[in-house]
C-alpha cells in the first residue's frame, strides 16, 4: 500500500501538482488518469523520489518516504519497479543484459541463478527468442514487455507504470494491460499506472484517481466512473464516440 498526503509540486513558481491525497492498494491496479499535461508523470516521479516534493508526505506501507535517509532510500528503491513511458531500455545492452541488470547490481545470486531468474521473467512476460537482440530491433510491444520484465526481476513490492500502452495498437495495448494486472495479482504488488486510455480504465481500473490541472477531482473505480454526474469526468470518459454509444445503450437498457 502507498499513501500520499497533500502532495504539492511547483516548477518555477508554477503549481503543477496541488494538494493530492489518496491511497493505492496492494494487489490492485491503481490508475492515475487525466489529460496529457494534467500532471500524471510529475505525480509519479514525486512518489518515486525522482522529483522533490514541495509539500506533503508519502508512505510506503506505513514507512515514511524520506529522500535524505540514503540507506533507507536505497532499500526502498530495491522494492520498486518502474516501466517508463518510452520503455527506457538501455540501448547499449541486449535484452538479456537489460533484464538481468538490476540483479547484477543488487543481488548476491550466482551468475547461473541470475540467468535462471532472468529467463523466468522473460517467459512470464511471454517473450521468445529475444535474449540477444538489442532494444532497437524490437517492436513497441516487445519493448514494453522487456521493460516490464526488468521492472519485476527483483520481485518488487511496488510497480509504477507510466502510460504503459502509449504508442501501442489497441490489441497489444490491452494485452499489456492484462499482463500488468495478472502480475499485480500474482505477486501481490501495489501497482500504479498512469493512463489516459479509457480502454485501460475499463479493463483494469480497480481504483482510479482523476487529475485535472494537477488537482485530484474524483476517485473511485471503473464501475463508478460510468455513472458519475461530474461534468469534467463525463467530458473525459465520453470524449470518444464509442463510449457515448455505450452510455446510450445502457440508458436504453434501463
Amino acid at each position: 500500500m502507498i499513501e500520499i498526503n497533500n502532495i504539492a509540486k511547483s516548477f518555477d513558481n508554477h503549481k503543477i501538482i496541488e494538494d493530492i491525497s489518496t491511497t493505492f492498494d496492494k494487489g490492485k491496479t491503481n490508475l492515475i488518469i487525466g489529460q496529457s499535461g494534467s500532471g500524471k508523470t510529475v505525480l509519479m516521479k514525486c512518489m518515486l523520489g525522482l522529483l522533490d516534493i514541495d509539500e506533503g508526505e508519502i508512505y510506503f506501507d506505513d514507512e515514511k518516504f524520506n529522500k535524505k535517509n540514503i540507506s533507507k532510500l536505497a532499500n526502498l528503491r530495491k522494492q520498486m519497479g518502474m516501466v517508463f513511458q518510452g520503455s527506457a531500455l538501455f540501448d547499449s545492452m541486449s535484452v538479456l543484459d537489460n533484464i538481468i541488470f538490476p540483479l547484477r547490481m543488487f543481488s548476491n545470486k550466482s551468475n547461473t541463478e541470475m540467468i535462471e531468474r532472468t529467463k523466468e521473467v522473460i517467459r512470464r512476460v511471454d517473450l521468445k527468442d529475444v535474449d540477444n537482440k538489442f532494444p532497437s530491433e524490437l517492436s513497441g510491444g516487445m519493448r514494453k514487455r522487456v521493460a516490464i520484465a526488468r521492472a519485476i526481476v527483483l520481485n518488487p513490492k511496488y510497480l509504477f507504470c507510466d502510460e504503459p500502452n502509449s504508442g501501442l495498437d489497441p490489441k497489444t495495448a490491452i494485452i499489456i494491460d492484462k499482463l500488468i494486472k495478472e502480475i499485480t495479482i500474482e505477486y501481490n504488488i501495489t501497482t500504479i499506472i498512469n493512463t489516459h486510455d479509457m480502454n485501460s480504465v475499463m479493463e483494469i481500473g480497480d481504483k482510479i484517481i482523476f487529475l485535472v490541472e494537477g488537482r485530484k477531482i474524483w476517485e473511485g473505480n471503473n464501475k463508478e466512473i460510468l455513472n458519475t454526474d461530474d461534468k469534467l469526468i463525463n467530458d473525459f470518459v465520453y470524449s470518444s464516440e464509442l463510449f457515448k454509444k455505450v452510455k446510450l445503450y445502457q440508458k436504453n437498457k434501463n
Binding site: 516521479k45 518515486l48 525522482l50 540514503i70 532510500l73 536505497a74 528503491r77 530495491k78 520498486m80 518502474m82 517508463f84 513511458q85 518510452g86 527506457a88 531500455l89 538501455f90 540501448d91 541488470f101 538490476p102 547484477r104 547490481m105 543488487f106 509504477f160
Partner: protein
C-alpha cells in the same frame, strides 16, 4: 548570473560522481568499454592529424626562416617545441572536444531524454557515478594518446623536412635534441591530464542536465563542444602563465 549557477552545479556534479559507488564488477566493465570508445577509438584520427600537422609545422618553419645565417638544426628544434608544448596537448584536445566530447554529450543526453537516467535512479543507482566515473578513469589514459601525438608529430616534421630537402637528417635530429628541458615535457603532461578531466566532465555535464528531445541533444553537443574548447583554452593560458612565464 547563469554562469555561476552552471559552475556551481558542475562542481556539485563532480562531487556526487565520487560518492555512492556502483558495484566494482560493473564499473570495471564500463571502464573497459569507455577505454574502447574514447581512447582506442581515437587513435587513428589523433595519429593522422599529428603526423600531418607535424609535417606542416616543419615546412612552415623552414619556409619562413630560410636564411643562411640561421643554424640548420632550427627546423627540428622549432618542430619539437611547437609539437610538445602546444600542438599535441592543446590542439589535439580541442579536436578531441569535438570527437570524444560530442560523443559523450550525445550519448548521455540521449539517455536523459529517453529516461534511461531516470531508470538508473529508480533502481537506486547513482547515475552520475555510473555514467561519469568510468569516463574520467578511462580518460586518464589520455596522456598515452598525447604521447603518440608528440611522437608522430615530430616524425611527420622529420619526414617532411628531410624528404622535401629543407633539412638534413643529422641537422633535424640534432635540433630535436637541442636544449631539451624535461620540465617542458612535465608541463605538457600536466596540461594533458587536466584536459583529460575537462574532456570527460564538461561534455558529461551538458548531456546529463539537458532538457528536451532529440533536437536538443544535437544542440547540447554543439554547446558542449564550444564550452569544452573555451575551458581548454583558458586553462592552457593559466597553466602556461603559472608554469612557464
Amino acid at each position: 548570473m547563469r554562469l555561476f549557477f552552471h559552475i556551481g552545479r558542475y562542481f556539485l556534479m563532480i562531487k556526487s560522481t565520487f560518492t555512492k559507488f556502483t558495484k566494482w564488477s560493473v564499473l570495471q566493465k564500463l571502464i573497459f568499454q569507455e577505454i574502447d570508445d574514447l581512447i582506442i577509438g581515437s587513435i587513428w584520427i589523433v595519429a593522422f592529424m599529428s603526423f600531418l600537422v607535424g609535417g606542416v609545422v616543419a615546412i612552415q618553419t623552414a619556409l619562413n626562416i630560410e636564411s643562411p645565417f640561421l643554424p640548420g638544426n632550427l627546423i627540428g628544434f622549432a618542430t619539437r617545441q611547437s609539437v610538445i608544448l602546444e600542438f599535441a596537448p592543446t590542439l589535439i584536445s580541442i579536436i578531441m572536444a569535438g570527437k570524444v566530447g560530442s560523443f559523450i554529450t550525445s550519448s548521455i543526453g540521449t539517455m536523459r531524454v529517453t529516461e534511461q537516467i531516470d531508470a538508473l535512479e529508480v533502481m537506486g543507482i547513482n547515475s552520475l557515478n555510473y555514467l561519469i566515473f568510468p569516463k574520467i578513469i578511462s580518460l586518464m589514459l589520455y596522456p598515452f594518446l598525447i604521447t603518440l601525438a608528440m611522437f608522430l608529430g615530430i616524425l611527420g616534421g622529420y619526414i617532411a623536412s628531410v624528404y622535401a630537402g629543407f633539412s638534413t637528417s643529422f641537422d633535424f635530429i640534432q635540433g630535436i635534441q637541442l636544449d631539451f628541458k624535461v620540465f617542458h615535457v612535465v608541463y605538457a603532461y600536466i596540461k594533458t591530464t587536466l584536459f583529460a578531466f575537462i574532456l570527460a566532465t564538461i561534455p558529461s555535464y551538458h548531456g546529463f542536465f539537458m532538457k528536451g528531445g532529440a533536437l536538443e541533444v544535437g544542440k547540447a553537443s554543439n554547446v558542449s563542444f564550444v564550452w569544452t574548447s573555451i575551458v581548454i583554452i583558458i586553462i592552457n593560458f593559466v597553466i602556461t602563465q603559472l608554469l612557464l612565464a
